[in-house]
């Protein structure tokens, strides 16, 4: 898969994604993430972040729209695309009572590009003990384990649903630092969050979703210059103000 990555197309391209639930609608979500870019997907709880991310790999079925990874349609190239991406709903929450080494020994057999050397390096870097089970890890360590698994098969795109939720400030800072290092290695990262300060620290691009509808999807500096109302207004102030303004209009 790494050989098939087309440098001229976005790592991820979503166009017109729709999904209808009885009490919620995802309304034509479109945005893209380029290689080496950190894209923060922000919105309040229930705005549609998780539904969008789950739609990318068919975990929920969109009623319309298309998803392309590295220019390839996900429906036609599911297996090949999964070789090149890492997807996580946050912390590792499967096989809680199995040793990490047992989970990894099975997982790695599925990846053509699994790199044992890199995996060992990441274990050392994250101070992960293979003899432990996921149930014995803190939330931050579980996120790191998920990242270690994704990075050991040389994932070119990471899709992470609220990876920093529930983490202490130190662990959050570590994860965000890691994101920046990965972006330098040309890895694309799409992560959802409702912690806006995370975006201020490391996002290159911001996708802001509200009630299932994309309000803005652009580079952070463009977002700030377009929506800044007052001098020295932080990104958090801007987004909270936009949310309140929209609430007032309803």
């Amino acid at each position: 898969m790494t050989q098939t990555v087309n440098k001229n197309v976005p790592a991820l391209e979503i166009a017109g994604l729709c999904k209808e639930y009885p009490k919620f609608k995802l309304k034509s979500v479109s945005f893209s993430v380029n290689e080496g870019e950190i894209c923060g997907f922000v919105g309040r709880n229930g705005a549609g972040k998780s539904t969008t991310l789950k739609s990318l790999l068919g975990l929920v079925h969109p009623s319309a729209g298309s998803v392309r990874f590295f220019g390839l349609d996900v429906k036609e190239h599911e297996n090949r695309i999964k070789q090149a991406i890492g997807f996580s709903g946050g912390a590792v929450d499967y096989y809680k009572r199995k040793k990490i080494k047992d989970i990894v020994s099975v997982t790695k057999t599925f990846y053509e590009t699994w790199d044992d050397g890199r995996y060992k390096d990441l274990l050392e870097k994250f101070e992960l003990d293979e003899e432990k089970t996921p149930s014995e890890l803190s939330e931050g360590m579980k996120v790191k384990l998920n990242l270690a698994l994704a990075l050991s098969h040389r994932a070119r795109l990471l899709i992470l649903d609220e990876p920093t939720s529930g983490l202490d400030p130190f662990s959050r800072a570590e994860i965000l630092d890691l994101f920046r290092d990965l972006a330098k290695e040309n890895v694309a990262i799409l992560f959802s969050t409702h912690i806006i300060s995370d975006l201020e620290k490391c996002a290159d691009r911001i996708v802001f979703i509200r009630k299932g509808e994309i309000v803005a999807a652009e580079e952070k500096r463009d977002f700030i210059s377009r929506f800044t109302g007052e001098e020295n207004e932080s990104l958090e102030d801007i987004i909270v103000r936009l949310e309140r303004k929209a609430d007032d209009h309803e």
């Binding site: 790999l57 929920v60 297996n79 999964k82 096989y95 057999t109 599925f110």
Partner: protein, 219 residues
């Protein structure tokens, strides 16, 4: 190693409950005098059920669909796992049946009002397994989460079948179904072959139906 072999390995090493292996011993029920041997086949299925329960609690489905395999391979993996356990149990049933047949002239095995382990009984074992695959596993994949209702349904069907199987050989003219002598071998062999065909058809049709149901599920 191809993806199918990898998926079976994943099932055996990560998803399976130890009870799935333990309940293969249900096949030894053949050796209990005056006990319905087919209940052993039900226990083998109960053991597989525990792996489904274990997998659900371990978020196994989500783990599997995120691997670089086609999403519906998560279903294939479960059917293959069930088939592996059932194949081992069937082989054990065969071995115990041979042993029991060799001892059929000696007490306490010389008299039995219940089905003796013979070719027909082995066929019935395959029917119980077919019911598990088509009623329980297929039923489970309506939601990929709810285990209780499909298992109760399977249990009802399985015990109805076991009851009928134990009655049929008492019907005048059909006594040879329960024989371990040479007479009636063609009939018993026909029951075994028909059951094997039912197992194969229910396996592949059940897997196909389950895959379609699974594809429709939103996580």
């Amino acid at each position: 190693m191809n993806n199918t072999a990898k998926l079976i390995s994943k099932e055996l090493r990560l998803s399976a409950s130890p009870l799935s292996y333990f309940f293969i011993l249900g096949s030894a029920f053949c050796m209990i005098p005056n006990y319905p041997s087919l209940v052993g086949a039900f226990f083998v299925c109960l053991g597989i059920f525990y792996s489904f329960q274990n997998a659900r609690e371990s978020n196994d489905t989500l783990y599997t669909v995120l691997l670089p395999v086609v999403k519906s391979d998560a279903v294939k993996a479960k059917f293959l796992f069930a088939a592996v356990i059932q194949a081992i149990a069937f082989a054990a049933f065969c071995a115990f049946s041979l042993l029991r047949t060799a001892l059929s002239d000696y007490p306490p095995y010389d008299i039995s009002a219940l089905m003796r382990p013979n070719l027909a009984m082995l066929g019935y074992v395959l029917i119980v397994f077919s019911l598990f695959n088509s009623v329980f596993i297929c039923g489970f994949y309506k939601t990929a989460y709810k285990l209780g209702k499909p298992f109760i349904l399977f249990s009802v069907f399985a015990f109805l079948f076991i009851t009928v199987a134990e009655i049929v050989h008492h019907v005048p003219g059909l006594e040879m179904i329960n024989s371990v002598e040479t007479d009636g071998i063609p009939l018993r062999l026909a029951i075994l072959l028909a059951s094997a065909a039912i197992y194969a058809v229910s396996f592949f049709v059940g897997m196909s139906v389950s895959k379609k149901r699974f594809e429709r599920i939103d996580f």
